[in-house]
């Protein structure tokens, strides 16, 4: 398993927006990948998350869904650049394309193109017990939709949300100058492992 935290400028980027390094790291860690995990990357953009995930699951596979053909080319180029053979790129607009995928252990939702709820529905039907969904949100609306989705499903999921605000101290001559990166919400939903859930309930009662 290789290191996390590829530098942003190691990716081929074009004009497609890319999840920045720190957000990528935290999202990947929150997903608790194993070396054989099956992973979806929905709205994969440049494929930065897909590439880092693929390196963490050498015995698994990453399914990258992306509607923008220009971005699809970038994902393939980045996968090739890091010599990764376990990324399957699917040029579809999610939730289209999800139904034929195998069951999965973890899901990243970056871009949702205004279809976050149907995407979460489609993903839910594929996610194994104990699996995790990590949603990156940059708008209040998509955050609210994700929160409402998982609140409505609180018999099956628990979730936590953080907002991460990174500021870079740029070295300009003798100065280190604060340059803000746009903040991102990272919502991590954990699907109850049915057996553990029962156990957890018992423990709570015992306490």
């Amino acid at each position: 398993m290789e290191y996390l935290g590829i530098d942003d400028d190691e990716f081929i980027r074009g004009k497609v927006p890319m999840t920045k390094q720190e957000i990528r790291i935290l999202s990947l860690v929150k997903a608790r990948l194993s070396s054989d995990s099956l992973v979806y990357d929905i709205g994969a953009g440049t494929g930065a998350i897909s590439v880092e995930a693929a390196r963490l699951v050498p015995k698994g596979r990453v399914y990258a869904l992306e509607r923008n053909p220009e971005a699809v080319i970038l994902i393939r180029a980045n996968a090739a650049n890091f010599a990764l053979r376990n990324i399957t790129v699917i040029n579809e607009e999610a939730p289209t394309g999800i139904s034929i995928l195998p069951q999965c252990d973890a899901v990243f939702v970056g871009g949702s193109g205004g279809k976050l709820c149907p995407i979460l529905e489609a993903v839910d039907s594929k996610l194994k017990s104990g699996g995790r969904i990590v949603v990156n949100c940059i708008t209040v609306q998509s955050l609210m939709q994700a929160i409402e989705y998982f609140r409505a499903k609180d018999a099956e999921y628990s979730y936590e949300t953080i907002q991460v605000q990174v500021t870079h101290l740029q070295q300009i001559g003798p100065y280190d100058m604060a340059k803000a990166v746009n903040p991102v919400y990272i919502l991590t939903a954990k699907k109850w492992d049915k057996d553990q859930h029962g156990l957890a309930d018992m423990n709570e009662k015992a306490v």
Copy 2:
């Protein structure tokens, strides 16, 4: 006394950096201006702070120091645009130009061009007891210099520092999308009023 909080786009700006509205508001409030205050605005840039300060001190005056001739033109244009007659623009690189100014009640230090300590020295010799110096810092180095200056003068000054990080929620179609503004440190130093200081000491001893 007119309202605070002129919108950023009401100022004529050019390429000169401008203190953004929320930072301007907090800086101006921290300075505790009165209607007859004499105010320095050091490194005045576009004059946004000078203009807002001038409106708050209709019976006072703002001395705007700025080394960049292009910025000086902007300050004058902005003062004219808001029909303000109580701004004196001085095209000098501080601390040059401070020595001939009258004593003052409040000082804003925006740009310091790497000369923050000599500026604070020059300003200290002009600031009345009970007056305030508000320093906006966007680099670690200038923040550290300001802190060290006022820590060394802790018999005469107390200070507080906040870091302010504003994020705008930009309305893009059906979304409200987070756009970060670079964070700014606002250090506010209060020069002890000699009489009150004596009293404060007594109170502290009494407690």
Copy 3:
């Protein structure tokens, strides 16, 4: 008109949550009060916003609505402490209590007790053209409700939203240590002035 920016510890506080100084300042400035403004402070808590607003509207009046009797006592104590006679405290849970108030120029909504939409409805019927509503939100849900309310009323209102994250640098021995304050969303809705609106429409068409 007196200075804005009373220090937090100048207020009598008890256990009631209080809007912190920087958020208070920005909220008050965004409301664009005039010396004769009629102001509502909904969910007034300790009355910190009411007190600062009352000082800015010496010829106007602040109506502070607050459901918690303990908080009502604090508001009255703080008003007395600052010798303010232009605060009317109303011990009701908004929107109850709003219908009998006079028309107003500005509204602050701090606490909404889960009734933000009916509060905004009640307030809308009282707010004069050109008036402003400033909503402070600390939860995603109330932010979303406020955004949806004003998006649905976009023929009458425009709005802007900022998130403000303040960090205090606490002086501990030789160090200045970062202590975060919880971030707050400040939504400012501006009710179109009907005459200006017509004009604005014309201008837009002309452009």
Copy 4:
């Protein structure tokens, strides 16, 4: 190699301050550990960084230096709790204790007890070419010292600094309420690999 991102409440904590999960994750990733890395954790506190690092370097070792005997007990308890045998706890106040350690690949500096510069000096003499030092700072002073140290050594090190502000959305009844965590500066210094450095220089000249 096991997953990163142990939850904060999986650690035994006592009253000793602990680096929070997100900062831990980012710090560990920035250090670019390999499975056989030798790692120092200076000012190890509860040992949270040591434990996560030890899991990432199963063929390597973590040397945890900590002056506080109470914290030393916690580090040992946490190491035992995660069944880690590759943590060596040293009850010394750094830089004391560093001189007898073997050369290392990566260094975390959490607490420095006001001795950051001597610690960095001691650590520099032990760090292999290509190694990394990750400094977490919560005060302006320690950040400034770290920046000045690595600026003075710019022939041997490059560095980057980020400030990370995490906000948790706490689920309280029907609400998700923003609760800020104190921001932390993470400075990552990379010691030039002498051979690569020469190459980099050549490339730069070629460009």
